[in-house]
């Protein structure tokens, strides 16, 4: 491996900007770190270059641990966003700088410089000052300068940001060509997905300091695992659907999924439909793909090669639910059509059309949507505006439904609504909260989010499960939740007091197992802590230690639930996500 990152974490002003990133980049690979601004990608690149230290974790270049090696001794080539050419030196002096530092002879320096200038196609400009060059030429000089000392790794920090589209494309080709010619391992940071697709052997998508997913461009585009990647890499329609044995049920109609998601149980999922996978036709019979619903065309925009449409789905119980809609009436399905399709069926705004879906991809994420549940509609409405819940729904691009249960918490009372609980149910944290939680869990709620009135977005998430049956689901829910939070994950292992002396290594063993399962199965990096004593008591104590924490707790049985959790839930100042999976 050329570059190995192991649990790299970097904090700034208390909040993690790079959060537990582990990554292997192979020899000669062109790896692109893609993410919106503020996602931590540039910080990660600077950490690899040694320009910024890490708070935790390990960085190795070609097997050599360089975590504590100074930038000048790492032997990497870094190209800066704004070139950072030495403005008072000529092109020749700029390129030879690294060689001069290494006391190379003038003759050899000149030879290497000629070689590099040829490589970036800038022969003859040796004696120019940077100010006399165009932006594109300056960036070529910056690349040549970074390559002069034959670094083992080339790092590029948004190298095309300041250039116009045409030069950008030309430079992209040059850099790709140089990279292939030299076979040098390269990491490029960008926020431009088109650039990432064009250049990368492999893309790693970052958001909120986490490396969410990585893979070949094509795989990431067609099989994203997270909402963020699905919507950041190109446009996507997110639809709340049910996963059934027959396929993906959206509204009244069922479409076969591209690949079956894991798990057999029927549950709510998030389906991704790319705009180019949507088909529109005059009638249901004219569709060549699976029928989804009818809709009205709101908007037609001509964009050159493609035409893009916004189609509003017809209302009614049969209609599929758009995840992004979040209650407002304006949401509509995005559709793009090629010239060929346009010629076959011309469309005008206001037209009613039948909608079909060619390909559906189901996200493996267990957190699909939220339902704010309270004793009255007014209370449920108030809960749906709770800042943390609203923020989470916004970040997860999903909707918050409302549900009134007048009998909430009354023992032996039945549910008011006969529809099942779907997605994550949210309730307010109050005095008899533990009892209400048990009431809901016993009536079919699987994932339950308990929200105090003033909870902020957490900076640390504590994870714990009671009972092996809940283990996998808890880890999956944690991984999903943490993708949307800029928070660090900590697994808190708790053992009864007396076992402390008896089997200390047994406890450690369990912690490490939990950590490696989280990493392997869910891509979740987490730290571990070990405590002894009563579970609920220890968790409550740990939560009270610092502000801005959240708890995700897995539960496998509901015996004496309210009693056990009273101290943790009733009037607590922290949000708690309860994941209930009973033993089969």
């Amino acid at each position: 491996m050329s570059i190995t990152l192991d649990q790299v974490t970097k904090h700034y002003a208390g909040a993690p900007v790079v959060n537990d990133v582990s990554l292997d980049i192979g020899d000669g690979e062109f790896f692109v770190l893609l993410g919106p601004s503020g996602s931590g990608k540039s910080t990660l690149l600077r950490a690899i270059a040694g320009l910024s230290g890490v708070d935790h974790g390990r960085i190795a270049l070609h097997g050599r641990d360089v975590t504590h090696v100074a930038a000048r001794k790492r032997g990497v080539g870094l190209v800066f966003q704004n070139y950072a050419l030495f403005r008072h030196m000529t092109v020749a002096e700029n390129i030879e700088f690294a060689l001069r530092v290494r006391h190379m002879r003038a003759q050899a320096r000149r030879q290497r410089r000629q070689e590099l200038l040829r490589l970036v196609a800038l022969e003859g400009l040796d004696q120019r000052l940077p100010a006399q060059l165009s932006g594109g030429q300056q960036q070529r000089v910056a690349v040549a300068r970074a390559l002069a000392h034959k670094p083992e790794v080339l790092l590029l920090d948004e190298p095309f940001g300041a250039l116009d589209a045409k030069i950008r494309e030309e430079l992209r080709r040059t850099i790709r060509q140089v990279q292939r010619e030299l076979g040098i391992t390269t990491v490029l940071v960008t926020h431009d997905q088109e650039e990432a697709f064009a250049m990368a052997d492999r893309i790693g998508v970052m958001n909120l300091g986490r490396l969410l997913e990585m893979g070949a461009p094509h795989d990431l585009y067609s099989r994203p695992a997270t909402r963020f990647v699905a919507t950041f890499l190109g446009a996507a329609n997110l639809i709340l659907a049910r996963c059934t044995p027959d396929g993906v049920q959206m509204g009244a109609n069922t479409v076969a999924a591209a690949e079956r998601p894991p798990g057999v149980e029927e549950r709510e999922v998030v389906a991704v439909v790319r705009p180019e996978e949507v088909e529109v036709a005059a009638s249901r019979d004219a569709l060549s793909s699976a029928y989804l619903a009818r809709g009205v065309v709101n908007e037609v925009v001509f964009t050159g090669a493609l035409e893009s449409l916004r189609v509003r789905l017809e209302d009614g119980a049969q209609a599929p639910l758009l995840a992004q809609a979040n209650g407002d009436a304006g949401a509509s399905l995005l559709v793009t059509r090629t010239r060929h399709e346009q010629r076959g069926f011309e469309i005008h705004p206001g037209q009613s059309v039948a909608i079909g879906v060619r390909r559906v991809h189901v996200l493996p994420t267990p957190l699909s949507s939220f339902t704010a549940c309270a004793a009255s509609a007014a209370l449920a409405d108030a809960l749906s505006r709770q800042p943390l819940l609203a923020e989470l729904a916004e970040r997860m691009k999903t909707r918050i439904a409302m549900r009134a249960e007048p009998q909430l918490g009354v023992p032996d009372a039945a549910c008011a609504a006969d529809s099942p609980f779907v997605g994550t149910t949210a309730i307010a944290s109050q005095t008899d909260c533990a009892q209400r939680a048990e009431w809901l869990l016993r009536r079919g709620a699987k994932d339950l989010l308990v929200l105090p009135e003033q909870a902020a977005v957490p900076q640390r998430v504590l994870i714990h499960w009671m009972g092996e049956a809940a283990r996998s689901a808890t880890l999956a829910a944690s991984a999903s939740a943490l993708r949307h939070l800029s928070a660090e994950a900590v697994y808190v292992g708790i053992f009864p007091e007396q076992s402390a002396s008896a089997h200390p290594q047994h406890g450690m063993r369990e912690l490490l197992d939990a950590r490696s399962e989280a990493q392997l199965a869910h891509g979740l990096e987490m730290r571990t802590e070990l405590r002894f004593g009563d579970v609920a008591q220890q968790l409550a104590r740990r939560l009270a230690e610092a502000p801005a924490q959240m708890l995700i707790v897995g539960v496998a049985e509901l015996t004496r639930f309210a009693e056990r959790f009273r101290g943790l839930l009733d009037g607590g100042q922290w949000p708690v996500l309860i994941v209930y999976r009973g033993s089969p």
Binding site: A13, G14, G50, L51, S52, G53, A70, A71
Partner: protein, 278 residues
């Protein structure tokens, strides 16, 4: 949080150490001597020196003339800055460079030159004489000298702010039908107001401490044309160190208040700016 955020650049210990050491040795230690000298005085002695009629007279002149000079510069500083920023005319570059002259020119030179220009037989003084206006050796002369030496501070404070008044804001206002005066009153003035006030305060602070240029043109009559810094020098020449230190502490205290005012004004200006940006 640690004292310093980590950085890849070397040399923090060396440069920070040298900076703080040198600062302490050259600036802070001597200033502490001043505070201690004043503190070692008996309270009644302190009051006696600080509130003596001669001292009070010098405050009146120092503050009055400095305030007047700063006010004059508020007006003329704005006009000059506006002219330099908005109008193109021959010699503009030269004038722009000359603005800093009083800053680079030794104060003694300004003093003797102003005195000879505004003396009764001087180039300008001789034309003022028939009108009964005496400048040299009166409080007018003091004000004039202070106006000259504090002028660059007022102009340079306003100039960048005027440059920053974005033309497109004005143009937007004009396309919305606003007249020139209205644009000036509602767009330009509010934007440069914090800078104007900063310029005023800077000029005032600078004028308050001025010594070199004033003593030549002032005449230095006790109670009439004697400024506070001169009174300090007189105390020193009589080896009355405590009296000098007491007056020095009073002046320093006032300078600090003025500095504080500058900082608050700048913070206010920044806040307005930030708000406007949102």
């Amino acid at each position: 949080m640690s004292f310093r955020q980590p950085s890849v650049l070397p040399g923090f210990g060396l440069t920070f150490g040298f900076t703080t050491f040198f600062l302490s040795a050259i600036v802070l230690l001597p200033l502490a001597a001043l505070a201690l000298a004043a503190a070692s005085m008996h309270w009644s002695d302190f009051v006696h020196v600080v509130l003596s009629p001669r001292a009070l007279g010098s405050y009146r002149l120092s503050f009055g003339a400095s305030f007047l000079a700063a006010a004059i510069n508020l007006v003329f500083g704005f006009i000059i800055a506006w002219t330099l920023v908005r109008y193109e005319f021959p010699g503009r570059g030269l004038i722009d460079a000359l603005i800093d002259m009083p800053f680079a020119l030794p104060t003694a030179v300004s003093g003797i030159a102003l005195t000879s220009v505004f003396a009764q037989n001087g180039w300008i003084g001789r034309y003022l004489e028939p009108w009964g206006v005496k400048v040299a050796y009166t409080w007018l002369g003091v004000t004039l000298a202070l106006t000259l030496i504090s002028m660059p501070f007022a102009v340079r404070a306003v100039q960048p702010a005027l440059l920053e008044v974005q033309r497109d804001l004005e143009e937007a206002a004009e396309t919305l039908g606003a007249g020139r005066l209205y644009v000036f009153r509602r767009i330009i003035l509010p934007t440069v107001l914090p800078a104007l006030l900063t310029g005023f305060t800077l000029a005032f602070a600078r004028a308050l401490g001025e010594y070199g240029s004033v003593i030549f043109i002032a005449g230095n009559l006790p109670m009439k044309t004697e400024i506070t810094p001169l009174l300090i020098v007189i105390h020193l020449e009589e080896f009355d160190y405590h009296g000098a230190a007491a007056l020095g502490v009073v002046m320093l205290g006032i300078s600090f208040v003025v500095l504080l005012a500058i900082n608050l004004l700048q913070a206010w200006g920044r806040r307005r700016h930030v708000k406007a940006a949102h």
